[in-house]
């Protein structure tokens, strides 16, 4: 026993030293890499300049031809804003012909590749998100071990259970990745050859990183129990989750570089010839925003999956303890998902800004061209998400003692949501026969048509978000009896903020009808600012009012209604569908190009789908991936014995812990 303990301590010390060494090296290596990069850039520029001068001189004096051909980058600029020049280091992009594409008779190649890609991305997103959750949940578990050992154990068990599911999903992701690769090589061999020629080293690094990810993942999962035996080892274990997430993020960024290069290339010339700097190819203009957007998207999607997983187990639970546990997990998962969802639009704005900066017509194709309708569908999906989130909160409130004081307001909030959602999904124009067009007197309906414009839609969505924030505030204080002496003033402030916000949002919306379109766009900024004010100031005042508050009673976990549980299912579907939709939009905006402006798609499938066709594919992908998730969860459940689950008696609502 003693020997075992000593042995594990030695192992811990060695492992600790290794981790410390790695942490010590990391900034140095990163710094060194950056310094090398900067130095290399400088040398590169100097060499380029020298060679250019020599080549010019040689050309002038007629002393033979320069050995290296130089060409202009399609994206990168030098300090004066002129296209950066680089040595031609690769073959030009091929002019693809029909024989460069292979086909099956039953479906277009692009559809098959889309399915393979999307399924891999869904699973990849999940397995990248779960380690983030585990890292946070395990950390919370460690931190609460001394103050609340029961909760600490629960957090630790939750993280372990999630990792167990993720492990099976990880293998599945790798298989789907293999299927994707084979699909790509076999159906688009000509284009793959070009892409592989440019990204050759990146692809090898990617494969090696995958190996590293697997190694750390296995140590992290299989070493869970052993490393939980003492405090120090537990911290080491938690550090492994950080490492796991770092490697996972690098993996994702490397894979992203292929997609972002296809959408907005850099590091090549107009003919598609590689200009010798692999960093330029990886670090194309959309690389960073897409990366950040995907990390947040992964968190939201992962939260949705875990929520649905817990909701399903909640419905099938046989004992009160199980029901209470999974009810609580549902809440945690939804909290994480919403937490990731709030900053997601800002990352989206950044991405769009970069798209516009790269090519304005690409941005306009997205927001005002053939892709514009897809953004209306996105709006509908977001409306659906808010509906589901509010429905979940309303139903959750009923299990909180003291909530009867606020439940009466729910029906008005639902009414407001219905009105806003209807406005939100009203299309600007719809498909009509000439007779219908004539009967209506134009493409827009004289009354309903007013709700199809952005003024109405921005107003509707901001009111929906504000309503959700209000619902969250009521949920937070549902079992609290406010005792601070300034309770009345605080309540008045909260009421004033929300009434003022609603009035301001509506006023700006109406005002927008009297402005030209280019000026109207600017009104969305004050509208969003108003909404964010309700979120930060309203929630801030609310939390500060909880000081010395008395409780009406504990939350009755395990008493969530079926409607509330199905609201979580609804969110999971909406997240999945929405993720597919936005991925499709990002990819389809290339229109008939494999690599924008460089490699033209000359396959018979180079057209852009109608919205209906795309919608059907998104539905298929959503249903298909969930069938696979069910299988994966089932397989994961086969490996573990049923662990004893205890009721989370007296567990505070996580939001209330901010107190």
């Amino acid at each position: 026993m003693l020997g075992k303990k000593t042995g594990s301590k030695h192992a811990a010390i060695v492992l600790g030293l290794l981790v410390a060494f790695a942490i010590y090296l990391l900034p140095g290596m990163v710094g060194e890499v950056l310094a090398k990069e900067a130095f290399a850039e400088q040398v590169f520029a100097e060499e380029a300049f020298a060679k250019e001068v020599m080549a010019d001189e040689a050309a002038k004096t007629g002393e033979g031809k320069p050995e290296v051909e130089w060409s202009q980058d399609v994206f990168y600029k030098d300090w004066e804003g002129n296209p950066l020049k680089g040595p031609v280091s690769g073959a030009p992009a091929p002019e693809l012909v029909e024989t460069d594409y292979n086909r099956y008779g039953f479906a277009p190649s692009r559809m098959i590749l889309w399915i393979a890609n999307q399924q891999h991305l869904y699973f990849g997103s999940f397995v990248l998100a779960v380690p983030i959750f585990c890292m946070i949940i395990e950390f919370i578990g460690i931190r609460t071990k001394e103050t609340d050992p029961i909760m600490s154990k629960k957090y630790d068990k939750l993280a372990y259970d999630l990792m167990k599911v993720s492990l099976t999903a990880y293998s599945w992701t790798a298989i789907l990745g293999g299927i994707l690769l084979f699909t790509f090589i076999t159906l688009f061999p000509g284009f793959f050859k070009y892409l592989a020629g440019i990204f050759r080293p990146v692809m090898h690094v990617y494969a090696l990183m995958f190996l590293a990810e697997s190694g750390v993942l296995y140590v992290y999962y299989y070493g869970w129990e052993r490393m939980s035996q003492d405090k120090f080892m537990k911290w080491i274990h938690c550090s492994l989750s950080v490492l796991l997430n770092l490697i996972g993020t690098v993996l994702m960024y490397l894979a992203n570089s292929w997609a972002t290069f296809m959408q907005a290339p850099g590091g090549i010339d107009e003919q598609g010839r590689f200009l010798g700097n692999i960093w330029h190819v990886i670090h194309s203009t959309l690389w960073n925003p897409v990366g950040v957007h995907r990390i947040l998207g992964n968190i939201v999607f992962g939260g949705g999956i875990v929520g649905a997983y817990a909701a399903y187990h909640y419905l099938t639970a046989k004992t009160e303890e199980e029901r209470a546990h999974y009810d609580w997990v549902c809440y945690v998962a939804m909290f994480i998902a919403i937490f990731g969802l709030i900053p997601l639009p800002f990352a989206g704005y950044w991405l769009m800004k970069e798209v516009y900066a790269f090519r304005q017509q690409m941005g306009i194709t997205l927001m005002g061209g053939i892709m514009a309708w897809l953004f209306i569908i996105q709006a509908v999906m977001i409306g659906l998400l808010f509906f589901a989130a509010n429905s979940y909160l309303h139903n959750s409130m009923s299990r909180v003692k003291g909530s009867h004081r606020y439940m009466k307001y729910c029906k008005y909030m639902v009414l407001l949501l219905i009105v806003c959602f209807t406005m939100w999904m009203t299309p600007h124009t719809i498909v009509m026969t000439p007779a219908e067009l004539k009967a209506m007197g134009g493409a827009q309906h004289p009354v309903v048509g007013h709700f199809g414009v952005m003024s109405a839609k921005n107003t509707a969505v901001n009111l929906m978000i504000t309503c959700t924030v209000l619902c969250f505030i009521l949920y937070q204080r549902a079992n609290k009896k406010i005792m601070v002496p300034w309770a009345t003033i605080g309540n008045c402030w909260i009421a004033a903020i929300f009434v003022g916000a609603a009035a301001n949002i509506i006023y700006l919306g109406v005002y927008g009808y009297f402005l030209p379109a280019n000026q109207r766009v600017g009104l969305s900024v004050p509208q969003v600012s108003t909404t964010l004010t309700t979120l930060f100031v309203g929630v801030g005042i609310n939390i500060s009012m909880f000081k010395d508050s008395e409780s009406f009673g504990e939350i009755t976990w395990g008493s969530q209604s079926k409607v509330g549980t199905y609201a979580i299912f609804m969110m999971a579907i909406a997240f999945t569908w929405l993720m597919g939709l936005m991925g499709y939009i990002r990819s389809a905006v290339r229109l008939f190009w494999h690599v924008t402006e460089v490699v033209r798609d000359n396959s018979p499938d180079a057209y852009t789908l109608t919205i209906g066709e795309a919608g059907k594919m998104l539905t298929f992908n959503t249903l298909f991936v969930w069938v696979q998730f069910v299988v994966v969860f089932w397989v994961a459940s086969l490996t573990g014995k049923k662990a004893e689950v205890k009721a989370p008696a007296g567990v505070p609502v996580p939001a209330q812990q901010q107190e």
Partner: protein, 450 residues
């Protein structure tokens, strides 16, 4: 997707429903054994029947193509599932029916209902498929200036105009520009009156100096500003080297940053957000670029082409640059010259895929109207919903070929119009003038046989 391909969603759902039928069968057999007073054989047979029917329907789905699959799915498979659910309910006599199926089944139906509703919503919105633009517009025969300017208009707006939709052609100009007086979307200048402005602008002081001086090369494109004689050879006009309005328009297309209209540029109006139209992704050829200039010079005074200064292209000049040896044969666009026999022409153009055409062997398509135009065309011209310009059969047939959306025929069998947009909009690029005349003559005479 091509009509002969499969619909993945409906095929997948029919497979899923078969699995559900299997589950329902097992569930019923299990309950029939456990419960007393239940005729197990009867109910087992009923649900086995559902299982067999579902399986056969799924197998049949693989034999159908997507249009047929859609109909078959909603006509038969949905009905089968509905009857199966109804029978299941009767079997349990509504006793705790909600507890008889596990959450996985309820979850599946919930998932499916929401997802399929979303797909339904997307089909409710305007459907617009965007085909890749032709690499270069084909020129056949000698064009008139009216036809050439029309070619420019199609490059700007596309051949298809849909009610309530912004129409965008290969040039993608309407994404940012407007063309009518007073119209402005704030992205790029309104091009109403651009012909007139093109003459005065080149004399402005700002043009001479900002952002590039006349005679200097713009770095990104290499175009030398204000020097029409130094434009790349393929795009260069013949004649004097003096700067004229046409040169300004050409320069604006080939080098947008050579001059940036105030208020519409980036970095202090020194960089234009507009793409170079002669390069990817737009890549207009010299002939196409001149067609756009011809349209810009004539659009403000319809029918008056006196201000157009670009030369007319000659037949074949559109392909001259693209001509390549045999390896590119596969990419050659469909084109008929009019020298072919009428059957061959019709088959080359693909008309029989959708239309039934008397007198053409194998032309029995059903996606579009039957072509009995000798009888039908006069009736359609008189139809109150007809908004086209044709006054006789030949004009109607010609209009239907070149502008299929001008009048969409009502399908009396289906009780609704034939789908708008199904017929290709680019026959203008696939037919020579001779071929068009020959085709119009033939189709104008089609009538029921016997």
């Amino acid at each position: 997707m091509l009509p002969e391909q499969k619909d993945i969603l409906w095929t997948f759902l029919s497979m899923a429903f078969t699995v559900f039928a299997l589950y329902a069968f097992i569930n019923v057999v299990r309950h029939a054994r456990e419960r007393e007073g239940v005729n197990g054989k009867f109910w087992g047979t009923v649900f086995a029947g559902f299982l067999v029917i579902s399986f056969l329907e799924t197998v049949h789905m693989f034999d159908l193509v997507q249009g047929e699959q859609l109909l078959f799915f909603f006509k038969y498979i949905v009905l089968t599932v509905f009857l199966l659910l109804l029978s299941w309910g009767i079997f349990f006599k509504s006793e705790k029916i909600e507890d008889q199926s596990p959450p996985i089944i309820r979850g599946f139906f919930f998932w499916m209902a929401v997802s399929v509703s979303l797909a339904g919503y997307t089909n409710w919105l305007p459907q617009q498929r965007s085909d890749p633009p032709p690499k270069e517009t084909a020129i056949a025969g000698d064009l008139t200036m009216e036809e050439y300017a029309e070619m420019g208009r199609v490059i700007v707006f596309g051949a298809k105009q849909v009610a309530g939709q912004k129409s965008i052609g290969k040039g993608q100009c309407p994404l940012c520009h407007t063309f009518d007086p007073g119209d402005n979307i704030g992205r790029c200048p309104n091009l109403f009156g651009v012909e007139e402005r093109s003459h005065t602008r080149v004399k402005e002081e700002r043009y001479a100096t900002s952002p590039v001086k006349i005679g200097d090369a713009e770095p990104a494109t290499g175009v030398v500003k204000g020097k029409p004689d130094q434009i790349p050879a393929a795009y260069k006009r013949a004649g004097s080297p003096d700067l004229i309005g046409e040169d300004y328009l050409r320069e604006s297309l080939m080098c947008p940053t050579c001059y940036v209209v105030e208020g519409y540029g980036k970095e202090g109006d020194t960089k234009s957000p507009m793409p170079v139209i002669s390069k990817p992704p737009i890549s207009l050829s010299p002939v196409e670029l001149n067609a756009v200039i011809a349209w810009l010079q004539s659009k403000d005074n319809p029918g008056d082409y006196s201000k157009v200064t670009v030369p007319l292209p000659t037949a074949g000049s559109g392909q001259a640059k693209e001509e390549k040896p045999a390896e590119d044969e596969g990419e050659k666009p469909v084109f008929v010259t009019g020298n072919e026999p009428i059957d061959e022409m019709i088959n080359t153009l693909g008309c029989p895929l959708c239309h039934t055409i008397p007198g053409v062997e194998g032309a029995v398509g059903a996606l579009g109207p039957v072509l009995h135009e000798k009888i039908n065309a006069p009736k359609r011209i008189k139809d109150p919903n007809y908004k086209g310009k044709a006054t006789n059969t030949k004009e109607y047939v010609k209009e239907s070929i070149l502008t299929p959306s001008a009048f969409v025929v009502f399908n009396e069998e289906a009780g609704e119009s034939f789908p708008d947009g199904l017929m290709p909009q680019d026959f203008k690029n696939k037919l020579s003038i001779d071929a068009l005349d020959k085709l119009v003559d033939f189709i104008s005479q089609t009538q029921p046989q016997g």
